[in-house]
């Protein structure tokens, strides 16, 4: 139905001649834009609605005094649905630790939250197909569970800033009751906010797919950084760590890279590195973590994401 609609718009409304290369490109562009924005709107709305049931205060309660491993799994999953931005990482971190959430479990949450979320998933789905999207979710969760678990096992509490463990919240943080109407309002608001933030990147990405396609030789990058090159993954991850962007911002680049022959595994690893680790987030986390712990965190994440990149390239 969407295909017919795109075709109608191209030929009847815009009035382009049928069969020309240009009109095909336009039709493809319209079709892809509608498909992705439709997917995005619906899924962000649904996830936001679910999200309204998991404010951080509730997640904290669900995770406090959970055993390791089980706790890591829960934390990684809750990271997907609990609203979080790196700007609130400090109060969140302190709140979790204070409530008795183990350090490793807290890290599982901090890792999964920015990396595995509805925007990343929908975009991967729309541009690369549902298979790639599910693999990204699965491995993203694994990275979060594993990374947090290892940090927990290393017993690094001594490298958390001292004041965090001395923090004492006398009263229990309240969870406000919300009516269903308020939840719907939140979901709508959140959907609009996210769309406002990402639409331009998506248009650019679709544009790259439709227009720049064919100007650079298809295997341009494959030649240098294809599956055969063992340094492609570590290089992409190292490049991605300092970069700060959400999944949408990185998408045009990711899409262009895959178009030009970079293997999808390398690109997924790149995307994980960009979203999970960033310089601004490190600076914020430095307020609660001493440098060695921050270093261990970055180190473990880097190695895990590189391993995942190789795994992707092997199975895809």
């Amino acid at each position: 139905m969407l295909k017919e609609f795109a075709s109608y718009l191209t030929h009847n409304v815009i009035g382009l001649e049928q069969g020309s290369r240009f009109s095909e490109v336009i039709e493809f562009f319209i079709y892809d834009s509608f498909k992705i924005f439709l997917l995005l709107s619906v899924i962000i709305f649904i996830v936001s609605l679910i999200r309204s049931f998991f404010p951080p205060e509730k997640t904290k309660r669900l995770l406090s005094n959970k055993k390791e491993f089980i706790g890591n799994i829960f934390a990684a999953l809750l990271g997907v649905v609990t609203p979080f931005c790196s700007c609130s990482a400090v109060p969140l971190f302190i709140g979790f630790i204070e409530a008795g959430v183990p350090l490793g479990v807290t890290f599982s949450f901090l890792i999964s939250s920015p990396m595995v979320n509805e925007v990343a998933v929908v975009l991967l789905w729309g541009f690369f197909g549902w298979k790639i999207a599910s693999i990204y979710i699965g491995t993203g969760l694994l990275v979060a569970i594993f990374g947090g678990f290892v940090i927990g096992k290393l017993k690094l509490e001594k490298w958390v800033e001292d004041y965090v463990y001395k923090f004492c919240i006398e009263q229990k943080q309240e969870i406000l009751k919300q009516t269903f109407k308020e939840r719907l309002q939140y979901a709508k608001w959140n959907t609009v906010q996210i769309l406002k933030r990402v639409w331009l990147f998506i248009i650019i990405a679709i544009g790259i797919g439709g227009f720049i396609h064919g100007y650079v030789p298809q295997d341009f990058l494959a030649h240098y950084a294809g599956k055969g090159n063992p340094f492609a993954v570590p290089f992409a991850v190292a490049l991605g760590i300092p970069l700060y962007s959400n999944a949408a911002g990185i998408l045009p680049i990711a899409y262009a890279l895959v178009e030009k022959g970079l293997s999808i595994g390398t690109v997924l690893a790149f995307m994980m590195a960009v979203t999970a680790l960033s310089l601004p987030e490190m600076i914020i986390l430095r307020r609660v973590l001493k440098l060695p712990l921050l270093g261990v965190f970055v180190g473990i994440m880097t190695l895990t994401i590189i391993a995942v990149g190789y795994l992707f390239n092997m199975i895809l």
Partner: protein
């Protein structure tokens, strides 16, 4: 009456302060409106900001901000 707006100084927090002041003025009540930016103080109530506390009770947390009418309602509910 004691009203606290909790936030770390972001633009939306400022906006909430403005709206609360407006609400207090329009309701024509006596209330002390205080901006709270200290993390220890904020964490007594919530991890999410901006938030609204009236007479020690958490009334609103996070975005989107409530409407002016809703803020008036929230303030009056503690009167």
């Amino acid at each position: 009456m004691e009203i606290k707006v909790l936030g770390y100084g972001c633009a939306t927090c400022e906006k909430l302060v403005e709206m609360v002041n407006q609400a207090v003025k329009e309701l024509d009540i006596y209330a002390k409106v205080e901006k709270v930016t200290d993390i220890r103080e904020i964490m007594k109530y919530t991890m999410t900001t901006p938030s609204l506390v009236v007479n020690g009770k958490l009334k609103h947390s996070g975005q989107p901000l409530p409407s002016l009418d809703k803020i008036k309602q929230l303030i009056l509910s503690e009167k």
